[in-house]
Symmetry: C2
Subunit: 454 residues, 2 copies
């Protein structure tokens, strides 16, 4: 397998395009057969829909199967649309159990059933078993391919087990040690195995403080375990502490990336899968709900402003500064909530330190509000030639920033307590609420003090 | 080392607090000595500043050194404030080279110099060498601890090398193969080593298609290599292709998390390090610049509105819908830009597909704009009893959403072309620009059509 440098990528991509157009299957195969499946997947992703299907159709089973596991969901959906059940079964049959389960759960129910019927019983039972676990749990991301030996085995016997597993699984890092009831007892690293004498018993070199996940553990918790303890693989046990699977670091990197992307996308009321999606209608429908939340919220803001029509007619200049009030409230609120949400996601913020953080946000927003309030007094005073008005708008801005930061900082905590993903709360929701409160505070305070201003 | 379940964490933390208050050093040591350094680091993070310093002071050198490498920068800074040069040198001396370089580069220059002078020449030369590389490059994150053997070695000799390295380095996954000039030739996995006979030559089992990084490769590129090819470690070479270091997956998980956090934080004009920061003044100063950008932008918006004072006096209802226009523009713009920025960060969006994505965004925003424009006509028509006004505001909303999505989607591409981090552009900047353009479009169109409305 060849390693493609970034600089060669564009060149090879355009050769592939050329060859597809010329329908030169021989040359295409020659080019692709040497590449790492991850590279083929990257080329497929960058092609147009029809080119993708053509190219995938050409790939030999082994490569096609490996490539399929590297692709993102929307692309997989497109590609397998036109693949026969027969070929799909062959492709799935040679995948690792966790990849097979992922692909099959993407299929429409009847297709999935037909594919499962065509693959050997052993494989299909494994896949069905895996599909029972929640998608975002340790059970959902674990594979059934791992090496486990009894604590009474010798090093030599263990090496034989590795030889058998290696042909199917590739690289191995840790061997799990179990007793006769399949209960997880410990681990042996390959390093320790290499350094042990061949006839030693595994029980002599086993490490018994092995870390593990339960099948129902959330994948984000699993990722935190990997990150905290610098793991490369982790055994998964059921409620009886029996070894049922293994999670490897390459799946965890994807989880970390995915969870971070989810946070950032939820933040915008967008969706990460969009990136690969081709249908503009699907994308629009993904985006509409959050925009609708914002839309309705801002219509409420519109009726609030309407209530203050009399004040606005008396002092039209109030409308000039509405955007500043809204934007400063919105931005301060988002800053507070991002810090809190990221802190909770990476576990750097614990419930213990909630109150400390709350008071810190209070001080930060008081300071920031004070700075901008002061500038506002000067700016409005100079622009409008009315320093009383400047003073009132400055004070209001101070209060709005304080309110927005506390609101933005506290909402994620509250949601966390009631077990809702805090990232959901952010972006459009917090901004819209802060627009409403900000305008209400602004117009109310200025209405109350209008006799001193005009 | 014990493994702490999440449920026990709070309980142990409060015991630690109790013992610190009672100054019961013996019991504290007994408790801490069994824990994984990552757990000790987590406890330290959750303690108050003075408690942290007290506890860290108690730790035996070996544990203290390991804990120090697990902590985040602001906490490290606090803790080492009061640690003597003598102790700091001892702590740094037993760290892996990359961790030592990280800690030393955090120190004030004179302190760093004094610490470097106290540690053995070999170590201090290594650390100084590493500190020459850019912080975010392969050279900056690599370690000098790895196992390399000559291609002519036997398996047995290689195992001896592993034995020597193991005492210092812990777990090993791949052995790098070099020639007599230290040029990287390939790799041997531990799995292959275990399965080979003891007297085989390494040249028989070496894989020559090994992936590698150059010292100046960006850490984000390195992370993409790990993720794409499912690596657990990667050799680093200099410009002569000589092997100089190794990057392991645990460092990469941190990079992935860090880069995603950076994107999400830049988005809010915030900063990830804030999470651990205690000083409210420092946090405020980090947040002020982006808020200032928004502030100035919205003041420009204020003067724009002022230009349309005559229109607003004629039709005060225009001010009611200013928030809707601003919010819909802002949110659509952010959605477009987040999709593009995440796509570029995870490499799912290539320059090749730029135009395709541009046209997709165009269609999405036309559709979304049409939907909300239509709703707006009805809502304004009913609320204001004026359907001509509703029609004009609806059309304007349509145009503003189109403008904002294209602006939000294109700016990151443009910044990427001129080599600026696209995440920088987003959040406050895009929202503010869209507020300005949105209000300008809104007020200009309605001013032009006011004779039909009033």
């Amino acid at each position: 397998m060849k390693y493609i440098a970034e600089t060669d990528f564009t060149e090879i991509l355009s050769s592939i395009r050329d060859l597809i157009e010329k329908q030169n299957q021989g040359a295409l195969l020659n080019l692709l057969i040497d590449l790492h499946p991850a590279d083929v997947a990257e080329f497929l992703t960058d092609l147009k829909k029809e080119e993708r299907k053509y190219l995938f159709h050409l790939l030999p089973t082994k490569i096609a199967s490996a490539v399929l596991t590297e692709l993102d969901t929307p692309i997989v959906d497109q590609i397998i649309e036109n693949v026969s059940d027969q070929r799909l079964s062959t492709l799935v049959d040679i995948m690792d159990s966790d990849d097979a389960a992922d692909i099959i759960s993407e299929l429409p129910d009847e297709v999935a059933q037909r594919v499962l019927n065509r693959i050997p019983d052993k494989v299909s039972d494994d896949v069905k078993g895996l599909m029972l676990y929640g998608e975002d749990t340790a059970g959902g991301i674990m594979a059934l391919e791992f090496v486990a030996v009894n604590e009474n085995s010798t090093v030599n016997e263990t090496i034989d087990e590795i030889r058998k597993a290696h042909e199917k699984n590739g690289t191995i890092h840790n061997i799990w040690v179990i007793d006769t009831n399949n209960i997880l007892k410990g681990s042996v690293s390959l390093t320790d195995l290499v350094l042990a004498t061949e006839k030693s018993r595994i029980s002599k070199i086993v490490k018994t403080d092995v870390k593990f996940a339960h099948t129902d553990m959330d994948q984000e918790e699993v990722a935190i375990l990997f990150r905290k303890y610098d793991l490369v693989d982790l055994p998964v046990v059921d409620s009886l502490h029996q070894l049922v699977g293994q999670i490897t670091i390459d799946d965890i990197i994807d989880v970390v990336e995915e969870e971070a992307s989810e946070d950032i996308s939820l933040f915008a009321g967008a969706n990460d899968e969009e990136i690969q999606e081709d249908s503009f209608l699907k994308i629009s429908i993904i985006r509409l709900p959050w925009l609708m939340v914002a839309f309705v919220g801002e219509l409420i803001a519109a009726t609030i402003i309407q209530q203050f029509e009399t004040t606005i007619i008396q002092l039209i200049a109030l409308t000039f500064f509405m955007p500043v009030i809204m934007a400063m409230g919105g931005n301060s609120g988002i800053q507070s909530s991002i810090i809190v949400i990221r802190g909770m996601a990476t576990r750097e913020i614990s419930v213990e330190s909630t109150w400390r953080r709350f008071f810190r946000e209070l001080r930060v927003s008081l300071f920031i509000g004070f700075v901008f309030g002061l500038i506002m007094i000067v700016v409005v005073g100079l622009l409008q030639g009315n320093f009383v008005m400047g003073l009132m708008i400055g004070i209001t801005l101070n209060i709005v920033i304080l309110q927005a930061s506390l609101f933005g900082g506290m909402i994620p905590f509250i949601l966390k307590r009631v077990n809702v993903d805090p990232a959901l709360a952010s972006g459009p929701f917090i901004t819209t609420m802060n627009d409403i409160f900000g305008l209400l505070i602004y117009l109310a305070i200025l209405t109350a003090s209008i006799k001193y201003i005009v």
